[in-house]
Symmetry: C2
Subunit: 136 residues, 2 copies
Amino acid sequence: MAISWGADLAQRGIAPDCVQTIELVRDVLARVGDKWTLLTITALASGPLRFTALHQQVAGISQRMLGQTLRALTRDGLVTRTAYPEMPPRVEYALTPLGHSLGQAVEGLVGWVRGHQGDILRHRHDFDRAGPDASG
Amino acid sequence: MAISWGADLAQRGIAPDCVQTIELVRDVLARVGDKWTLLTITALASGPLRFTALHQQVAGISQRMLGQTLRALTRDGLVTRTAYPEMPPRVEYALTPLGHSLGQAVEGLVGWVRGHQGDILRHRHDFDRAGPDASG
DNA sequence: CTGGATCCTATACGATACTG
DNA sequence: CAGTATCGTATAGGATCCAG
């Protein structure tokens, strides 16, 4: 894998720069892995959407989480927020090039899961079946 | 992106099969994105390790979380757990081929973050600076 | 040494209500 | 329409103690 994350990097006197990268990677991964970010990004992948449209597209998300997710995404420069001074208000969210590229990067992982879901499911099944019995 | 996750898939009568994939993807992504899984996988990438060795390698992790993470990884068939009936007990954890391949899939994402961390950090900075002031 | 059981805190998230 | 504030619940995760 050639990646030396080691939480112990910091202790070994590795450049803080590198440690920061590690934390950022984990941070981004955690964000992508959360319950709504990915859905939101993919919803925006096909084009800009308004708050309400997103709320429907990413069905199941609460206003609170949508707002929060959007805010985090915007903060990281993954999406843009454009408010039109009209009445009633209109706000459009759109993926930035950066956001699109993240989406593509994620696709690799998605592809992996798709390709190995059978394995994973099978392992889980075996594990769950053996677990309760296997005492050693 | 060409991925139609849509939480609304289920409502539209999309095959449950596909919906299951979506949930599995999210599940795996969430696992990879959690605080310790990635560190643990990368720690094991260079070879099998015992519990205590892992505990040191992934410095900062608690026994509880290490055990929990290892268990989840084992359940998904990403790592193997080999217990030697000795005294004192010795248990070795090793990445399976599946685990290694996941690590590689993740590398793409890691590469993306590395390549774009400057952008992200800059955006965050701008956002945080503008946020408190910008009232619109 | 391995790692589960227990307790506690911080956070994620949902539901609801309220503001511009 | 577009959000924010508040509240309540569920879970993540750390510290510690205990058992095989």
